[in-house]
Assembly symmetry: C2
Homo-oligomer: 497 residues x 2
C-alpha cells in the first residue's frame, strides 16, 4: 500500500469554483495538480523527439512512456495543472474529485497503472452503507418515492435489461467483443439509434417508474440527452461491464482513489521528470501544428515556436478545432467535431451538515436541472458529502445560476442544507467545452476510425476516441500508451532507415 506522494505541495488553480453560505462564489480551487513554476526550460530551438500537447492522463502517460524510453519530450499544457478533465481539490483536508473520479479493476489500462504504482489497495468505496440513511429517493412526475437501494437496483436492472436486450441475448450477440464493436455486421446499423429511439421501441414493456429510473440513469451515465446520445455506446459499456448492471454500477460509480486522482496523475508526471528527459510549459495553449514532413512545428498562442520529430496531440474532441492543423485533420470539420460528443454535463459537490445523506442517493427527473445525486461519505467533521450530476438535457452552468443551482440541489431531498458547493464548469471551460465523451448516434461508425487514423508525424490521442473505455480515465491511459508506442516505434524505424 502506498501513501500520497505530494500532500504537502498545493497551489491554487485558476479553475473551478467554490460557493459557501458565508462567502458566496469564489473562482479557483487549491490542488496538488497545479505545477509551479510553470516551466522547467527556456524557449529554444531544440528539435524534440516528441511534443505532447495536453497534460491529461493521455499526455502524462505518453510523456512518461517516451521519457523513460530515453526520448526527449516537450509537454505543452494550456492549463495551470496536470490531469485535464480529472483533478482533485483538497479543501480543509477534504478531497473533491472535480472531474473523472471512479476506478475499477475491470478498467485494464487504469488498473495496470495503479498496480504498477502499488496502489491496488489504495481504493475505497465511495461511502459507508452502515452510516446514514442508505436509501434511494426518486422525485418524478408522480411525486416522491423512497425505497431501499436494493428495490431501486432491481427496478433499474429490469429496465436496463429490457433496454439492452435488442438481440434477445442481452447484448451478448451484438457485442461479443467490446473492443471490436463492429465485429457483428448486423449490429452496426444499431449505431443509428439514439437513446430515445431505443426507449421508444420498448416503451410498452416499461413500467412508468422503470422508465423514469432508466432515463435518469442513462442521462447521468452519458451526460447527454435522450434525443442525440447513441444507444450503441451504452451497449459497448454494458459489454465491458460483463453484461451486468450490477457490474456496471460497481465499475463506473462505486470506488475512488484514497489519495485522489491528482496524486495518481502526479506519479506519471514525476516518473517522467525523474527520467530527466521532460521539458514542459504550463499555461501554454497551442495555436497551430504544422507537419513539415521532416519535422513538426508547434506554435503556442503566446507566440513561442517549438519543433519536434513527432507530435502527440491529446486535446479533447470538443476543442480539437481550437488548434489549426496543417495539413488539416481531413474530413473532421469543426461542424463534425462539434457533433460527436453529446455530453454537456454538470458535476457538483455539496456539503450538508447531517451525515444522514452520506449513503443516500436520489433521482429528480424530468423536471430538475440536475438529475442524479449520491452521498459519498462524510467530511472529517461528520457532514455529508453529496455529488450531483446534471446532463446536456436541461443543462445548467452553476456559476451563472447559483440560486437555481441551490434549488436544484434542494429538490433532491428536503433535508439538504447546502453549506458549500465545489465544482468546475466543463462546458464553459475553453479547453474541454463539455464532459467526458458520449458519442451521439451514428458518430462512432462514421468518425471513430478517422479519429484513430495515422496522420504523418502527428498522432491524435484521447480517451474521446479510445477503443474500449471511451470517455473514461482508462481510455485516456489506453490512448497515451498507444500513442507513445506508435511514436517510439516510428522513431526507431526512422533512425534505422
Amino acid at each position: 500500500m502506498s501513501s500520497s506522494i505530494n500532500d504537502s505541495i498545493k497551489h491554487d488553480s485558476r479553475e473551478g469554483f467554490q460557493w459557501t453560505e458565508g462567502d458566496g462564489l469564489k473562482q479557483g480551487l487549491p490542488s496538488s495538480s497545479v505545477i509551479q513554476p510553470e516551466t522547467n526550460t527556456q524557449p529554444n530551438n531544440n528539435v524534440y523527439d516528441t511534443i505532447i500537447i495536453g497534460a491529461g492522463y493521455t499526455g502524462l502517460t505518453a510523456a512518461r512512456d517516451l521519457t523513460t524510453s530515453g526520448l526527449d519530450v516537450l509537454l505543452l499544457e494550456a492549463r495551470d495543472r496536470i490531469g485535464g478533465r480529472t483533478w482533485t481539490s483538497t479543501i480543509d483536508g477534504h478531497q473533491y474529485e472535480i472531474g473523472g473520479q471512479y476506478v475499477h479493476w475491470g478498467q485494464p489500462n487504469l488498473w495496470r497503472e495503479l498496480s504498477r504504482y502499488s496502489m491496488q489497495q489504495d481504493i475505497d468505496a465511495c461511502f459507508d452503507p452502515a452510516r446514514g440513511l442508505n436509501v434511494s429517493t426518486v422525485f418524478t412526475k408522480d411525486g416522491l418515492i423512497t425505497m431501499t437501494k436494493a428495490e431501486n437496483g432491481a427496478i433499474l436492472d429490469s429496465a436496463f435489461q429490457k433496454f439492452i436486450n435488442i438481440d434477445g441475448d442481452f447484448g451478448k450477440s451484438i457485442m461479443p467483443l467490446p473492443y471490436n464493436p463492429t465485429l457483428v455486421p448486423d449490429a452496426v446499423h444499431l449505431d443509428k439509434l439514439t437513446l430515445k429511439d431505443r426507449i421508444d421501441q420498448i416503451q410498452q414493456d416499461l413500467e412508468p417508474l422503470e422508465r423514469t429510473l432508466l432515463e435518469g440513469m442513462l442521462l447521468s451515465l452519458t451526460g447527454g440527452q435522450l434525443e442525440t446520445t447513441g444507444f450503441f455506446g451504452v451497449v459497448g459499456l454494458w459489454a465491458l461491464c460483463a453484461y451486468s448492471s450490477d457490474c456496471l454500477g460497481r465499475a463506473v460509480a462505486a470506488f475512488k482513489l484514497r489519495h485522489g486522482q491528482s496524486d495518481f496523475a502526479q506519479r506519471f508526471f514525476q516518473e517522467a521528470l525523474d527520467a530527466q528527459k521532460l521539458s514542459y510549459f504550463f499555461n501554454c495553449p497551442v495555436a497551430s501544428v504544422k507537419d513539415r514532413g521532416s519535422q513538426v512545428e508547434v506554435t503556442a498562442k503566446n507566440g513561442l515556436h517549438f519543433q519536434a520529430k513527432k507530435v502527440i496531440c491529446t486535446v479533447p474532441l470538443n476543442v480539437l478545432s481550437n488548434i489549426v492543423f496543417d495539413p488539416p485533420v481531413q474530413e473532421l470539420s469543426d461542424d463534425v467535431l462539434a457533433s460527436i460528443n453529446s455530453n454537456q454535463s454538470t458535476k457538483l459537490h455539496v456539503i450538508t451538515p447531517s451525515d444522514a445523506l452520506s449513503s443516500w442517493d436520489g433521482l429528480t427527473y424530468p423536471y430538475n436541472r440536475l438529475v442524479h445525486a449520491s452521498g459519498e461519505g462524510t467530511t472529517s467533521s461528520g457532514a455529508a458529502h453529496i455529488v450531483c450530476f446534471g446532463a446536456s438535457y436541461n443543462h445548467i452552468d452553476p456559476e451563472d445560476n447559483i440560486e437555481e443551482t441551490l434549488a436544484a440541489v434542494k429538490m433532491f431531498h428536503q433535508d439538504i442544507d447546502v453549506k458549500s458547493m465545489v465544482f468546475h464548469d466543463w462546458s464553459q471551460d475553453e479547453y474541454s467545452k463539455g464532459g467526458w465523451c458520449s458519442y451521439a448516434a451514428t458518430a462512432s461508425t462514421k468518425y471513430l476510425g478517422k479519429l484513430r487514423a495515422s496522420r504523418g508525424n502527428v498522432t491524435l490521442a484521447s480517451s474521446d476516441w479510445a477503443l474500449g473505455w471511451r470517455g473514461f480515465i482508462d481510455g485516456a491511459i489506453e490512448e497515451g500508451t498507444r500513442a507513445a508506442y506508435a511514436v517510439k516505434t516510428e522513431l526507431a524505424m526512422e533512425a534505422k532507415a
Copy 2:
C-alpha cells in the same frame, strides 16, 4: 489489427508430446517460442543491472520494461524457449496452446499489453457455436445426460451461486475488493476452507446433478482436488469476474489469441531485444543465487557465473526449491513451498475427424482420469479440435499411460475417434512441477505476503503470487511489471545515494 510477427521462424522444442495413430508417441513440438541460437552473448564478467531468471511472461515483461528503460539485463532461461507455462505449437498449420491460453479484457495487465501492441481485435471465440453439436454431455454416476449448453449453464450457475453465497451476498460482502482479499476481517478465516469443506456445508441444498457439475467445474477451474484446494481463491476469482458465473466462463475459457500466445510473448522479447540492452542464455538452468549486499552472484547449473546489481527470479512456486538462495528464502522451506500450489492438472489436445464435436463440451466425473473437455473449433481440414483437462484429483500423466489416456478421452463422447493428441506434462516438467497456481486452503493467508516480500537485491516475481489474477497470464504480467518498477526505482535511488 496486427498480424503474427514470426510465423515463418519455427524450431522444435524438446518439450511436449505428440501422439498419432500412425506414429505413436513422439517427444518434442515445433514452436515459434524456441530461441536459436541459444545465446546472444559470451560468458563474461559484466555486472549487469539486473539478471532475470525465467523467460515466461513475468520474466519477459520485466526484461522488456527494464531494457527499454535503458538498463542492462541478462535473461537466463532453463528451457529452450520463451513463455514458461504458456506456449504455442503449430503443427500442420494448426495452433495448439500447450499451456496458458485464454484471454479476456477483464484481465487488466494482459489486456493493457494486448492493447499496447494493437492486438485488442486479434482475439477469437474458441469455437463457432453455429458449427457442430453445440450441446453438453455429462457422464456421471447416474449415466449419460445430454443437454443444451443453456441448460448446463443454468444448473452450474445455480450450484456455483450456492457455493459462493457464504455471506448471503454472493461474495460481495466478504470480497468487495478482490485486490484486497483480507480487507474484511471476518472473511479471513474462510481461507481455512477447502473446496470440499464448502461443498459439505451446502450439500443439503445441492441437487445431485448440481453437485456433479459444480465439483467437475471446480476441478477443471483449479486443476486441484476438493480435499486440498482452497475455497477462498475461488471467491477471489469470482469477485474478479463481477460475481457472475457467466462472466467467469467468458473470462477464463472463451477467447484465445488469433496468432497464438507465443506470438504475443515474442513481442515482449523482440521489444527487449530492440532496446539493445538484452543478453540471454537459454538452456541455462540456475543453480544458486547469492546476494552479497553490493551485488548478486548467480551460478548456472552448467557452471557459468554471472553478476548483477539486482536479480528478479521468476521461477514458479513448485520449483523455487530447485535454486539455492543465499541468504535463504526465509520461512519458505521446501515443504512449505510444496504445500501451496494444489494444481497438478493435465491439458490435452485431441483431433477427431468429424466437426460435430467442435462446439460440444463434456464432463466425466467422478470416475474418469480426465474431467472436462470442450470443442475448440476445427482444423483447416474440418476435424474437430477438443481440449481436455484433468486435475490433481485422479491425475494422469498421458505420456506414461497412452492407452488409459485414449480411454479417458473416449469416455467423454462415443463419437470421439482420436487421430492425434498434443500435450505437455506440466507435472513431470522439472521447471514447473505442476500447473497454474491454485492455492491450497490456508496458504494465501500464511504465505502470500512472504512470497511478495522484499528480499534485499532479489525480487521474487511470479503469477503464482500475483495479487489479482493469480495463476493466470495476467498475474504473470502483473508481477513482471511490479518487479521491473521496483528494481528500476531501487537502482535509481542507489545511483543517487
